[in-house]
Amino acid sequence: MKFQFSGTFLRRGFVIATVFWMLALGSASAAFKFIQEGMTPPNFNGKDLRTGEKVDWRPGSSGEGSEVMIIVFWATWSPRSMEVLTDMKELSERYGEQGFKVIAVNVDGQKTSPMGMKEIAEKTAELDLPFPVVVDEGLKTFYAYGVIAVPSLALVDGSGHLRYSPSGYSFSIRDRIVDSTEVLLGLKTVEDLGPLVQGYRPQPKASRYYNLGRRLANQELYERALANLDQAVEEDASFSSPHNLKGQIQLAMGHWAEAEANFTKAVELDSTLVAAWAGWGRSLLRQDRIAEAVEKLHVAHDLDEGYTPALVDLAKCRTLEGNLDEAWTHYEAALELNPGDPELLLGIGRFLRDKGDIPGALEVYRRAIEQLVTLPVLESASTH
C-alpha cells in the first residue's frame, strides 16, 4: 500500500517539526528549578474556585496537536500576578476558540486558612477570569515544578511538552507568549520569529526515572530520589536535569562538595541551565569560597535576571564581603520579583538585623511569618 500525503499535511507537518525543534524560546530562562523546556511537566488537579468543578490536568491529555496550555502560578500578594492574569484573560478571549487554554494555580501559601481562601475567592471574582482557578493546597504543584518566582508561567504544547517558561513577567515576555501561541496554533510561521534555541528531549525512560526522583525528593526521601536520578543518568548520559536535581538534594542534605560536583556536571551538559549555575554558586557559598561563588552566581544572573535564588545568594556573598550597599541592591531586586517569598524575606530580615536596623528587621520577619501561618493576620496596630 502506498501512502500519499496531502500538501496541507506536509506543510503543517513541516511547521510542527520546525516548531518542535526550535521553539524552546530561550531555554536559559528559568521559572522552574526542576522542569526544563522540552520536558513534560507534572500533572496536577484541584477544584475550580469559580464553579466547584474538578480540574484534572495532564500534559498532552487533550491529544490535540494545535493547542497551547498556559499554567500560571499566581498569588493574591503579588501585584504582577494580577497583570499576568489580566493579560491571559485577554489572550483567552482572542485565541480561546483556536485552542488557547489557561489554568491559574494559586500559590498564596503552604496552608490555606478559611480567611485565606476567602481572599483568593474574592480576588478571583474581582478579576472575572474565563479559565479555571485552582488553589495549590500544601503547595504540592508549586514544589513539584520547583517554582522560583511568582508569577511564573509554563507554556505547554498540545503534545504535553514545556515550550517556554519565563521567570517574572514583562512586555517582552508577553510578546513572546503571543508569538509562541500564534506559531503553535498555526496562525504564524516560525520564520516570522527571531533566532530560537533548541530544547533537549530526554529519553523516555530517563524522563520517568527523573520524574520519580523528583517526586521522592519533594517528599524528602532523598536516598531513594538519588537512586532514581542515578538510573535516569544511566538511561541518558546527556540529560542534565538529573545532575541538577541531585545537586539540589545534596544541598538540602548539607553535602556541599557532592552538590558542587553534580552542578558542575549539569552545566557541562547544558551551559544554559540557570538553576545549576545558581546551585553551584550556593554550594561554593556554603563552603566559604566566596569569590568562586560570586562568579557562578553572576553567570546564573546573566542568563536569567529574574532568577531570585541567584540574587539572594549574591546578596549573601556581598554581605560576607562587607559590601552591604551592593548586597541591598540584590535583595531589593529579588524582592521586586518575589515580594512574598518567605525565604527571601528571612534573608533580608537577617541582613537588616545584623546591620542594626531592628524595626526594619522586625517588619520583614513579620511579613515572612505571616506568609506561612494559618491564623488570621493582625494589623500591626492591633497588638496594642
Binding site: 475567592a121 474574592e122 560576607l320 518567605p342 525565604e343 528571612l346 537577617r350 522586625l362 501561618v373
Partner: protein, 178 residues
C-alpha cells in the same frame, strides 16, 4: 428434654432477645448520632463555602443550624469565632471560642485562635497560657510562635520577638544561618 434444660434454653433465648434489644437500641442511637454528625459536617462545609464567598450571614445561619443539631460541636464555635473576628467583633469571638475550648480542651486551633483574640485585646498573660499549652506538645508550632513574637513585640521586647521569629522561620524553611 429435661424441664430444667428447657428452662435454661428459654431463659437464654430471652436473655439473647433482651441483649439484642439493648444492642438494637444502641445501634439506633449510634445511627442517630452518625446522622447528626453527617448533617453537621454538611452544614459546616456549607458555612465554610459561604464564608469564603463573603456571605457571612449565610455562614452564621448554617453554624446556628449546626448548634441546633449538635449543641456541643466545637467546630461550629471555632467558625463562629473566626467569622466574628473577621467582622472585628472581638467580644463575640471571645465568647464563642471560650466555649469551643471548653468543649474541646485539646484543640490546637481553638486555643490559638482564642489566644489571637486575647492578643488583639491586650490580654497577653491569658494568651500566653494557652500558647504555652500548645507549644508544650508542639514546640515548633509556627502559629504559636507567631503569637509569642507578637506578645514580645507588644511588651516592647524587640530582641526576644526577633529571636522567636528567626528561630521559627529557620525551622519552618530549613534555612541555614549564613
Amino acid at each position: 428434654m429435661k424441664r430444667s434444660s428447657r428452662t435454661i434454653i428459654v431463659l437464654s433465648l430471652l436473655g439473647c432477645l433482651g441483649l439484642g434489644g439493648i444492642l438494637c437500641e444502641d445501634a439506633t442511637a449510634a445511627d442517630d448520632r452518625r446522622a447528626v454528625i453527617a448533617r453537621s459536617r454538611a452544614l459546616l462545609a456549607d458555612a465554610q463555602t459561604s464564608f469564603a464567598a463573603g456571605e457571612t450571614d449565610s455562614a452564621l445561619i448554617h453554624l446556628q443550624q449546626v448548634l441546633e443539631e449538635d449543641p456541643a460541636n466545637p467546630d461550629a464555635y471555632y467558625f463562629i469565632g473566626l467569622i466574628s473576628l473577621s467582622l472585628s467583633d472581638t467580644s463575640g469571638a471571645e465568647v464563642a471560642l471560650t466555649e469551643g475550648v471548653r468543649l474541646a480542651p485539646m484543640s490546637r486551633r481553638l486555643k490559638l485562635l482564642l489566644a489571637l483574640v486575647w492578643v488583639k485585646s491586650g490580654n497577653y498573660d491569658e494568651a500566653e497560657k494557652l500558647i504555652n499549652e500548645v507549644t508544650a506538645l508542639r514546640p515548633k508550632d509556627l502559629d504559636a510562635l507567631y503569637l509569642q513574637g507578637l506578645i514580645a513585640l507588644a511588651r516592647d521586647d524587640s530582641a526576644h520577638a526577633l529571636e522567636i521569629w528567626d528561630h521559627a522561620l529557620a525551622e519552618e524553611l530549613g534555612s541555614v544561618e549564613q
